[in-house]
Symmetry: C2
Subunit: 702 residues, 2 copies
């Protein structure tokens, strides 16, 4: 038995000994590659090939079975197919192996019931014994810090590793090594490149929590197709935030087409994309849209910069690059503030009269005649308070220019200011000089400023995420079955939770409806058919608005009853409600996401919510402050403070209502599965808001 | 005198002889570089250095002045500063030189009145004599087809030219050669790289019309900071469309920050960005947002593909690349349609059972064991009707893979199907094999599919642009001065142009207002203060809605008169108007853009147009069909056909109204400078629409 006191997942990253079941002499076979890698990449412990048909494999003694090894290996690679893999897991479990990495495929990733059952069996065996399993269908783990590379990735044959401050974790083998390859091509060292395969036992997110503890790491990259266990990712993110380790995630399946492809690939339950966005933002994780975005900004994270804002100062010898950098800055959410008048005055004493000194700073083609101009202007710019970060664009240089001086001056400027600086140079010869001085350089201003924008925005997000309390989603399953309540019951339920509800009466017949009109004190009322079968009432003609007399209410009642009968809908009665007045119809929805837990959706309300959505998602905790922050990002945000002479809306009252509705769904004891309150009519500040219609779904015991 | 029958701008691209005023022996000086370039890049005509202080320059006989040359050169480079440049232009004009390229700077690009006056003087001299001038402040022209490279660009020193099918034109020197450098680094030949400088005489857009006639060209790239002469660009685009030459434009100044920087750089009048978008789209020109977008797709245009649609079939050996390619396709506006069942059945006989065959096609890691799988599936996919274009993603390959076969098979497949195909391979070693077979290859699927999306969308836009009649903007200046009409006069004017206008009466006092209520036949009316001084009435409290009696109208009249008096606003009376009913408030605006001519803006209406704009721009001709096409791209588009049981809107009536309003502004004899009709209340289909409020500005003779 093995007595390593570390957790199994810590051992997975740095085992003392490794065996390979299904070992091969052929280094291009999955049972051959890891043996070669472990020898080549400096793994210090013993490696035990297991293959009953050979005496020696790749120069090592080969063993007939796990049971005859000189010791119980801490980690076992399983590279045998089908039932043999299940047997291997069983052997590992019985021997007290701590970690198994199962390369073999043909299990849960297929539609084959037998393969899927074998995978379930492997998990059962592992969990019963405390064995932790990666895979099956895993391309393997790779830790170039320890030389533990139980992997068969072709990429490590093709692209020489170098230990460094980046970690990569992915289910997909390709996505664990494509960023590795792209980063290595940029000269960046990568320590971890783990592919967890089918995630049948250990998942990407659980492993992330262990990798995030590696003190050498400065950047953690994740590729995710599904997030079945957000609590693990939240824990990893918490650890990372505490030590200021940024996490960048490429979560695919952003589009319906991508989600369909992801279902085919990993069979993962599609996560609702806007919920994923909200979750990652809460956790301080930056979500990129593509592999290019994932690797382009990587170098910036490794510099140790501590940016304080998003104000950019842009400098170039080309006016056109200045213009394009300003466009790129706008797109990246960076602002260009004018340099102080004193700074500009100083620049004007250095630069030619036609140079622009506001920001961007256009050195102009005069740089060709006088290469010292660039270095000369930097001190003044460095002293100016307008900069959180810098962009230097060398449009064209070469013969006649002192490129070495530009590069040296840029590097010194970056060091002196201790602020982020990125450069762009379309000529490789120029870029290479800048890179030689350690300046991060892209071919064009667009790429440079996009990467800078990501880095600065992520830094801001991390500051926000650290400041707030985001509990991780719990692991409880969603309700198995739900039932809809009719409008009167729905309004009663949200009303009981403290949500102001429009004055209304449920009436069994026309006489009651007339009485309700009187009880409401007259004025304008609405009459609606009340049914637990109908979500959208308008289409059926069972809503009559703007009624101003008992007779009108009576007729409306009769028409609604007739329309419902024609539509074959049983009514629980009709609701006679006061016509609420206010400034804007908003909406509040809340439901339980199968993996992320309670989700609040707020936004513009009314009948066009589906076709012209302007909504945003909030995850728990549903505090009014968190709700308002998201509300103010909506398209309708300008209306909240009043436009064109209108009073401001009662935002505080709306946020309280949204928080109450969220709390009702978040409270598992409430029995409420989801709520849709639309419209919630919001009045002027101080006059509150009122829910006018609501649909509640409650849990039903099976 | 010179008797070349070609136009001066044709001569500029291929002169028979060139002189350099201000010639220098120093090849890093602006008067030295072009002499070196002309000799190095194969210019066949005589080159005459002009410099009174030397006998020979760079091995050539130097002349004291233009007048002593053996012949009148067709093109003269002016590389002398200030007043000497003006003198040189004068000499050229008197000698009958056809083209002058003025490198010298310090003229119109500065704030210096003397320099600006010198530039105007040069233009006057040139125009009086028929001399065509490029610059001043031009980095020069470069035609690597003819070897005519009257340029001083450092880029041509640093990056070896190769004649090829791409042309680049830019005011900015940097932007004429940055795409050149980036394309050359991708192995693409560039014939034209022209920098026109201050565009004082010849502009980018005028030169584009000549370059577009070069039969060797397959792609024309433009960098634009301003478009002062859209008629020239429209003519270039017309020529290009006729010969199916695509034009891709990078028009900077997309953001307010970029526009501010552009004003500093070229002093160009900022074009309204959405008008630029509409103009370029009408002309079939593709607008890119960045230099990367400009060069990334270039190779695709050179293939001669004739795509028919935007349906993508994606193939990879990585399921994750399949998923990411689907996301990228959605973002690029490409659809992934499932392969036909017969195709899928055929693929299933070849691929392992767990491979996905719908689309994307996931070959899976089985490709490592069997490299022939890739070639084996292509014939079936090629026969499937679901593809307009293909993506091939080689996630990871190398040892154990027959990469050469993948590359060869991809190239053959592309040739056999004659459909666009792009590949992605993060490993340079793999990408190089594909490139060796002529397959366009990017590092990642995101870049590949974005470029493909641009190419396919541009092809579609060109088909649309060819099918429609887009007259070029005229050159007439906008009106010098305008005056606003009050609501009653504005409504009368648009009413006379055939726009249905709400029933209303302009009333001088309360008695007339009471009479107007009666004349409107009762019902609900609105009373509004009428003034030629007020655009937004609501804020002043001079609009009273929902009045239902003569007494209420009387009181409203009095309150409005009092409110106007308090606000110090002189009223022309009050308007009593029927409360129009309909399904949606839309808006129509029309004005004359200083350079693009009449512009129509249509969109969602009401009081929030400024804070929540949902509008689109249409340029002349204002046909209902063109208007409807743009209307259907708006956020409110789903409402046009009716949602949730609502009837469809009378879109045809609205488009007729918009066309009528556009025509009124387009008609220079109407005296109307601009119109804002908001709201135009649109009823159900067949019930028309009605303008409820309007503000007209008319031209005022000075």
């Amino acid at each position: 038995m093995n007595h390593d006191p570390r957790s199994s997942l810590e051992i997975a990253l740095d085992p003392r000994s490794i065996a390979v079941i299904g070992a091969s002499d052929n280094v291009n076979k999955i049972g051959g590659r890891p043996i070669a890698f472990l020898q080549r990449f400096g793994f210090k412990g013993p490696v035990y090939p297991v293959n009953p048909t050979r005496d020696r494999i790749q120069g090592l003694v080969s063993y007939a079975s796990l049971s005859v090894l000189p010791q119980v290996p801490e980690l076992v690679i399983v590279a045998v197919p089908g039932a043999k893999a299940v047997e291997a897991i069983d052997e590992c479990a019985r021997a007290g192996v701590r970690v198994a990495v199962v390369f073999s495929s043909g299990f849960g990733e297929t539609a084959d019931p037998a393969g899927r059952a074998q995978e379930r069996r492997m998990v059962e065996i592992a969990r019963a014994s405390g064995l932790r399993m990666f895979g099956p269908n895993s391309q393997g783990l790779a830790n170039f810090g320890s030389g533990a590379v139980p992997s068969f990735s072709t990429m490590f044959v093709e692209c020489e590793p170098a230990d460094g401050p980046v970690g990569i974790i992915s289910q997909s083998g390709a996505m664990s090594v494509i960023p590795y390859g792209l980063l290595r091509a940029r000269g960046i060292g990568v320590r971890h490149a783990h592919a967890t395969g089918n995630d049948a036992d250990t998942t990407v997110c659980e492993l992330a929590g262990v990798v995030a503890q590696d003190p050498a790491l400065k950047l953690l990259l994740l590729y995710l197709e599904g997030i079945p266990d957000p609590w693990h990712l939240a824990e990893a993110a918490r650890i990372a935030r505490e030590r200021e380790l940024p996490i960048v995630a490429l979560k695919s399946g952003r589009s319906p087409a991508g989600q369909a492809a992801a279902r085919s690939h990993t069979g993962a339950l599609a996560n609702e994309d806007r919920v994923v966005d909200a979750f990652l933002e809460d956790q301080g994780i930056w979500r990129v849209r593509s592999m290019v975005e994932m690797v382009d900004a990587a170098a910036l994270y490794l510099k140790g910069w501590r940016p304080r804002g998003r104000r950019l100062v842009s400098i170039s010898n080309s006016g056109a690059v200045c213009v394009l950098s300003a466009d790129a800055a706008s797109e990246a959410g960076l602002s260009l503030e004018p340099l102080a008048e004193a700074t500009q005055a100083e620049l004007r004493t250095i630069l030619p009269g036609f140079a622009t000194t506001t920001n961007p700073v256009d050195i102009t083609a005069a740089l060709l005649t006088n290469s010292s101009l660039f270095g000369a202007i930097l001190p003044a710019i460095g002293r100016d308070p307008a900069a959180d970060a810098f962009f230097v664009g060398v449009a064209v240089a070469g013969a006649g220019y002192d490129v070495e001086a530009f590069a040296r001056d840029s590097a010194r400027f970056e060091a002196d200011t201790a602020k982020p600086l990125v450069a762009a140079a379309p000529q490789r010869s120029v870029a290479e000089r800048f890179e030689a001085h350690g300046v991060i350089t892209f071919p064009t201003e667009g790429e440079a400023i996009r990467a800078l924008g990501q880095f600065l925005s992520h830094a801001e997000r991390l500051r926000t995420a650290c400041a707030q309390d985001n509990p991780a989603p719990d692991r409880r399953a969603p309700p198995a079955s739900t039932r809809m309540l009719d409008e009167a019951r729905s309004l009663a339920l949200v009303g009981a939770a403290g949500v102001p509800v429009v004055a209304h009466h449920l009436c069994a017949d026309a006489t009651e409806a007339r009485a309700a009109f009187a009880a409401l004190g007259g004025g304008r009322v609405v009459v609606k058919g009340c049914s637990a079968k109908i979500v959208h009432k308008s289409e059926l003609g069972i809503v009559k608005v703007g009624l101003e007399s008992a007779d009108a209410v009576h007729s409306a009642h009769d028409e609604i009853v007739a329309a419902a009968a024609r539509a074959g809908v049983a009514l629980d009665g009709v609701v006679v409600a006061r016509m609420a007045r206010g400034l804007r119809e908003l909406m509040v929805g809340a439901h339980r996401d199968p993996v992320f837990g309670p989700v609040l959706v707020i936004g513009d309300g009314g009948r066009y919510v589906e076709v012209m959505p302007d909504v945003a998602t909030v995850l728990a905790p549903f505090t009014p402050a968190r709700i308002e922050r998201v509300l103010r990002r909506l398209r309708i945000a300008p209306l909240l403070d009043g436009v064109r002479g209108e009073p401001p809306l009662d935002v505080a009252a709306f946020c309280r209502v949204a928080a109450a509705i969220g709390a009702l769904v978040a409270d598992r004891t409430s029995g409420v599965a989801s709520i849709d309150a639309n419209p919630v009519i919001v009045g002027p500040r101080g006059e509150g808001c009122v829910a006018v219609d609501a649909v509640v779904w409650i849990e039903v015991a099976l």
